[in-house]
């Protein structure tokens, strides 16, 4: 059986670990020892679109990780640097896959080891109901592509493994078109949700009156498209169409940036909106609206101490 390490057991890490445990030998690396103990003792329950309890290994100590062919780093973007640092010198022979939102995750990991690297973005979502229970909410795909020392064939093998476990995945020769589609989508939807307090609902697609929110959303998407074009990236999906489609699902999704702001936690702003804005500035593309959203959310984080 393939041996897999999933580092980070938030909702995405938990969904991956539990489903992969049906077709592979999975060990979860957690931050807290109680979390690892709960997973070892109770297994990891999945409800929602899947319904089973997975048996898997778990530890909070990177040195205790078994040898593995694949390691998926599934923490939030804000936790990736410390996680990669903890993994330095471990997981010899493993291919490491990032799955964070935004841009730059691969470079962060690359600086801490010479593992072969895969990139991925995921569109699935889940809700954690405790350390040993995750609800599978949106069953959309995870997209995987080569990054350093890997090929499309490596991406395909991982996609097939994830599919065999019961999730959706697809391999691409170059992930950037998909990564940028999601980057622009997230920079727009997450930023606007965090500032307005609105979940990703019908307001984001409303474009009748001049002050309708959908007009701002569309203008932000257009700025993002201009940056992608300047970066030479041909988008895989139109982020505006992704936005409209998501609002039509009838499921009022609360983007993580909104949840973070409401809970006064640091957001993934820097790796999403910050990354897009910095690309725009580097390429000389004018993005006044995205710059405004970036500055406003950054200031909102600064207001936590008020």
């Amino acid at each position: 059986m393939t041996k897999v390490v999933v580092a980070g057991a938030g909702s995405i890490g938990s969904l991956l670990a539990a489903h992969l445990a049906r077709v592979a030998e999975v060990t979860v690396l957690t931050r807290r020892e109680e979390h690892a103990a709960a997973l070892r003792e109770q297994g990891l329950r999945v409800s929602g679109r899947s319904d089973f309890t997975a048996r898997l290994g778990a530890t909070a100590d990177p040195a205790a990780l078994p040898a593995a062919e694949l390691a998926i780093l599934a923490c939030k973007g804000t936790d990736l640097e410390p996680l990669a640092a903890r993994l330095e010198g471990t997981l010899p022979g493993a291919t490491v896959m990032t799955i964070q939102n935004g841009l730059g995750a691969e470079e962060v990991v690359a600086a801490h080891g010479d593992w072969p690297l895969l990139s991925s973005v995921t569109f699935m979502s889940g809700t954690r109901h405790g350390d040993a229970h995750v609800e599978y909410v949106l069953d959309t795909a995870t997209w995987i592509g080569p990054y350093r020392g890997t090929t499309e064939e490596d991406a395909r093998r991982v996609a097939e493994l994830i599919e065999a476990g019961g999730l959706h995945a697809e391999a691409f020769p170059d992930l950037r078109p998909a990564q940028w589609s999601k980057l622009i989508f997230n920079a727009t939807v997450n930023g606007v949700a965090a500032l307005t307090g609105l979940p990703h609902d019908f307001h984001f697609a409303q474009t009748e009156a001049p002050s309708d929110l959908g007009i701002l959303v569309r203008d932000l998407v257009d700025e993002g498209k201009a940056v992608a074009a300047a970066a030479g990236v041909e988008l895989h999906d139109d982020p505006w169409a992704m936005n409209v489609l998501a609002t039509e699902r009838g499921h009022r999704h609360f983007p993580s940036m909104l949840e973070d702001v409401e809970a006064h936690r640091p957001t993934e702003l820097e790796s999403i909106n910050g990354a897009l804005a910095r690309e725009a500035w580097r390429l000389g593309v004018d993005v006044p609206l995205q710059t405004a959203v970036y500055r406003l959310v950054k200031a909102r984080e600064a207001s936590y101490s008020e």
Partner: protein, 301 residues
């Protein structure tokens, strides 16, 4: 019309003049009853007990020479629609925030006076208003149907009552100065939760404020309006610790209390006049959409 904090400052002070009879119209019956029982009390920057006649029933209003509308901007239409009968031969001034109040009032009465006022306070309890800040008021004719001499009569009465007021031929300068100030700072406070001083000390956010100010100035210039002061200087002045560093913008207070904001009349007004004069206002439009989104979130969640 609209006897909240600002309306009460005018009503109480004007009622002290021997040659002026003041009626206070407000929908809050507890407030009007308290005024009729014990007078309208101001305390703070000035201590005054005025004796206006107060009512929540517009049909009680006699024919008046002047009206002053002091409601929130979104209540202008119902306020003037209910009271217009009292001003068939009179003139109605607005001392409200934002753009578009004059147009709304002109839909119901002939004689309209544009006004901008800086005094501020808050309603403490029915019949009692805290007077926080003294300040000047500028009045001017809205169009040729209002003679400057009538505007001067109103300004003179206000000045004699302790509310210093000027009458000028074109009162758009002070109005746009105040609108640009408010539209460029209030929503930033409302969206970030930061006080005025903390907004201004973050260079990235201060740059966003300047972007909003520049759009407002361009829209004013396209109409031939000369601002009577540079909003940038007023914004920096207000950010000083001894002025308004710790001030939470009224729009931030509105958002925290989940009250509808005046964003449609501030940023929305700049966007509307910009569109009429071919001046792009993308940042003001974005800020308006975000604050409208905040308002929408209260009913969605």
């Amino acid at each position: 019309m609209g006897c909240g904090a600002v309306g009460s400052l005018f009503a109480a002070n004007l009622s002290l003049l021997d040659d002026v009879e003041v009626w206070a119209f407000d929908l809050n019956e507890l407030h009007t009853a308290a005024i009729n029982r014990g007078g309208l009390r101001l305390s703070g920057a000035g201590d005054v007990v005025g004796q206006p006649r107060a009512t929540s029933d517009a049909s009680e209003l006699p024919a008046c020479e002047f009206g002053i509308v002091a409601t929130k901007a979104m209540h202008t239409e119902p306020a003037i629609a209910a009271t217009a009968h009292a001003f068939a031969d009179g003139y109605v001034a607005t001392v409200q925030n934002g753009l578009g109040n004059e147009e709304t009032i002109a839909g119901h009465v002939e004689g309209v006076i544009r006004g901008t006022t800086f005094p501020a306070g808050k309603l403490l309890e029915p019949g009692h208003v805290q007077w926080d800040v003294q300040g000047d008021t500028t009045f001017g004719p809205y169009d040729e149907r209002t003679p400057l001499a009538e505007v001067e009569r109103l300004a003179d009465a206000c000045t004699r009552a302790g509310m210093p007021a000027d009458a000028v031929e074109d009162a758009r300068g002070p109005q746009w100065r105040k609108v640009i100030f408010n539209a460029s700072t209030n929503p930033i406070g409302a969206l970030t939760g930061l006080t005025h001083g903390r907004v201004c000390e973050r260079p990235d956010l201060r740059a966003l404020v300047t972007g909003l100010v520049d759009e407002g100035k361009a829209v004013a210039a396209a109409q031939g309006i000369e601002l009577d002061a540079d909003p940038e200087e007023l914004i920096d002045h207000a950010a000083r610790p001894e002025v308004a560093y710790d001030h939470k913008a009224s729009m931030l207070q509105d958002v925290e209390a989940r009250r509808q904001t005046e964003v449609d009349y501030l940023n929305g007004g700049i966007v509307r006049f910009g569109a009429e004069h071919g001046v792009p206002t993308p940042l003001n439009a974005a800020i308006q959409a975000l604050v409208k989104g905040v308002e929408a979130s209260w009913t969605q969640n």
